[in-house]
Amino acid sequence: MTNNQRKIKLRNGNQMIAEGAIYAGCKFFAGYPITPASGIYKGMIDMLPHVGGLAIPAPDEISAIAYCVGASMRGIKSMTATSGPGWSLMVETVQYALITETPLVIAMVQRLGPATGGATQGAQGDILFSEFITSGGYTIPVLYPSNPKECFELTVKAFNWSEKFRIPVVILTDKEIGMTTETVDYTGLKNLTVIDRNTISANSTESNNWQMYEFKSLSDVPRFAPVGGKFKVTATGSAHNKNGELKKNDPETISVLIHLEEKINGHLEEFVDLILDEDKDAKTLIISFGITAKTMKEVIKISRRNNNKVSGLTIRALYPIPESQLKEISKPYERIIIPEENLSGQYRKLVHHLFEGKEVIGINKIGSMINPNEILEKIL
């Protein structure tokens, strides 16, 4: 398709996350500026008033995310955005959203760590840090777009997952995706489905037997009732029973804690988002995400032009790890290459065991993007 048939704008990933959030029906954003995520905050400040929403400056990241959780409890789709240093501060409240089953979307734009690190330098150093932040080791779905258009699509998906399952969802990007402007073709974006949380009807007559966290099967998602509505909300960050009441040494309370993870475990198929670019005769499979997925696509283009065979898999949902799919997809290949812009191959170490009998190669560096040539030389 030539450009004059496309619906083109010039946008970066941050702008497209903001637009995706607006499309998904987000009406509340609390922000605290941080490079390279500030563009999302600015986008929401510019757009939300025009859809009757509220974008508010918070005095720190802890306030920002707590405002969002409060707003979501009132029944409003909410989002905040940050980078590694701010994420460090938000970790407590992400867990609070998880245990209270409050829908929430957090955009996390990676920069070079640790601590203050390199504010204007890209990295994929928070692949583990974005996920493994809960006491108790609960799964937080993490979506990772690899270009501005996917930023829009996957932000909508993040809201849908968060609303449907009443969970916090992370949309992870990096400086290069967040701040690099590209030609974005909007074709198809207008038709994305938007899901809203299953809220108990205000006209329901069941007030006497209303239960805050009602489920039959552990993986069921309880109906939502907003604070301020007709059905009394009992929310707590403490371990609680189905009524939301703090209870110790209580089998029902333990079942609620298991239920929090089973909501995801029981719907694993729904959390899979992979794009396979397959060459049936290839011996090498490259697996990547985010900025490195773009480099991978360049590698595939160059290889095929030179009649070299290679397949590429873009993982758009990093967590829950799509274990059975990775096992299945990798079957025909002898060599698996996983390039990551971090020191230790964070995702590779998590999935390595799925590729038994195969050669698994990591390409890792920090400080600059991985160059296509660095991958090309590793292809069989």
């Binding site: 004059n4 008033p49 009757g52 409060g70 009132r74 009394k232 703090l246 600059s368």
Partner: protein, 462 residues
């Protein structure tokens, strides 16, 4: 919003508290007073229980949730209750049915952890009431000193007497522009009325209530409830209603009046670029399928926005573009650099490996290019357009030294460089570039003091 008692679906004795609830506190604890009086205040206000949300913090006072089984309760993480309450209240007042009264119950420990949240709720003037149960120590964890412990106070962690002065929270609230501020003693006869006034106040309100922890404070410090007034006075912490004014509007009113009033139509699927389908073949024209251009200058001199104009015009000509910007942590000093790629095919890798051209307009820019070793990627055909003041340490066959800063002014030097590059190479019709310039800056003639292209031609004839 007031309701007839008859309309409220609560027990006949009209209490917001759980019928027959047993207080979980030690005998004589001030928390019992505070919660009973809060109940009475709610009764006095005659609020629909669905229109009340109690947001409780960690600590003994945070055990209040289950005592109020008709109102919404949100029990939070330590110190954060005011922040969650702020989110609830903002969403209710700006985005929902504006029916809620949001009340925070927090101890002195939580108040200090979440001091920032109290300050900001006060600055926002959102409709939250913060009730601080101040018993001068951490009761739940064994009676450690808090930031509110009086001087000489003996606690588990101040066995020789506290030597750190207590915070005057009410003063902090007042300096945060709070307009309803009170400090009371838990046994005060008018506490119900003060709570009721605070809750019905349309905006942020705070009531600090002094009380004694019977388990950890009384015996060690030989105190009775009668000493509370003396303790406050000794620290110059005034008692009573310290502020009760209404010169500020509640946040949602300010927001509607001053922000939402600017509302315009927002259509995400509008204003697409009108792209021509020019079918220009870069490979035929330049021997490469994509043009990689590095544009560099100093921060604040419109380098990145000039690069954006180039991208806009390239996109109008039907090309794919990427623009990757770089600058130091500070936004207004040092270098500013854009790497632009223009291609007739979709661009995946956004790094520059084989630069088509450099436009370098300041010494900050040149130093950064050297330090990033970008010149190592140059070949003999790379075009280098640079300001006449700079000494470029490499040579190619296409070097153009021009008075970009002098003729164009520093703010348009990068744009001038782009103008020259497009004239030299014509990757797409120049007219598109000039009409974009006119759209943004008015007439092209007004852009620079002199005609760059003329200068360039004159130089080359010499």
């Amino acid at each position: 919003m007031r309701h007839d008692l008859s309309q409220i679906n609560i027990e006949i004795e009209c209490t917001y508290m759980t019928k027959g609830a047993v207080m979980p506190f030690c005998k004589g604890c001030g928390h019992t007073h505070i919660l009973r009086k809060l109940d009475e205040a709610l009764i006095k206000l005659n609020l629909n229980p669905h229109d009340v949300c109690l947001v409780t913090d960690i600590g003994c006072i945070g055990l209040a949730d289950y005592l109020f089984d008709k109102v919404h309760t949100v029990h939070t993480t330590h110190g954060r209750s005011t922040a969650f309450a702020t989110g609830i209240a903002l969403a209710d007042k700006v985005l929902s049915t504006k029916n809620l009264k949001t009340i925070v119950l927090i101890g002195d420990g939580g108040a200090m952890i979440g001091l920032l949240h109290i300050v900001n709720a006060a600055l926002l003037n959102t409709d939250v009431t913060v009730i601080v149960a101040n018993n001068f120590l951490f009761g739940m964890t064994g009676g450690q000193q808090s930031s509110f412990s009086p001087l000489e106070f003996i606690t588990q962690t101040s066995p020789y007497g506290n030597i750190i002065p207590p915070l005057d929270l009410c003063k902090v609230a007042m300096s945060s522009k709070a307009q309803f501020v009170a400090r009371k003693i838990s046994t005060d006869k008018d506490l119900v009325d003060v709570f009721a006034d605070a809750i019905s106040y349309d905006g942020f309100s705070i009531v600090e209530v002094l009380e004694l922890c019977t388990e950890y404070a009384v015996e060690k410090n030989k105190l009775t409830g009668k000493d509370l007034q003396r303790i406050a006075e000794e620290h110059d912490h005034h008692l009573g209603i310290l502020e009760n004014r209404k010169t500020r509007s509640e946040f949602s009113l300010e927001y509607s009046e001053k922000i939402l009033s600017n509302k315009k139509t927002l259509d995400l699927f509008n204003n697409f670029i009108n792209a021509e389908n020019l079918e220009i073949d870069f490979t035929k024209k330049f021997g490469k399928e994509k043009l990689e251009i590095i544009i560099a200058g100093s921060a604040g001199e419109k380098v990145q926005s000039s690069a954006a104009i180039l991208c806009q015009v390239a996109a109008q000509s039907g090309f794919f573009i990427t623009q990757k910007n770089d600058n130091p942590v500070t936004q207004g000093s040092g270098f500013s650099l854009s790497e632009v790629i223009i291609s007739s095919e979709e661009i995946f890798y956004t790094g520059v490996d084989n630069p088509f051209a450099f436009i370098i307009v300041s010494s900050d820019a040149l130093n950064e290019i050297i330090s990033q070793r970008l010149f190592e990627k140059v070949n003999k055909n790379t075009i280098i357009i640079y300001d006449e003041s700079l000494e470029i340490p490499i040579k190619t066959e296409k070097m153009y030294s021009l008075p970009l800063r002098r003729v164009c002014s520093p703010n348009k030097a990068a744009l001038g460089g782009i103008d020259v590059l497009l004239n030299l190479t014509e990757p797409f019709p120049l007219q598109l570039f000039y009409s974009e310039i006119e759209k943004r800056f008015g007439k092209y003639d007004a852009l620079y003091k002199d005609n760059l292209i003329k200068i360039l031609t004159e130089k080359s004839t010499k």
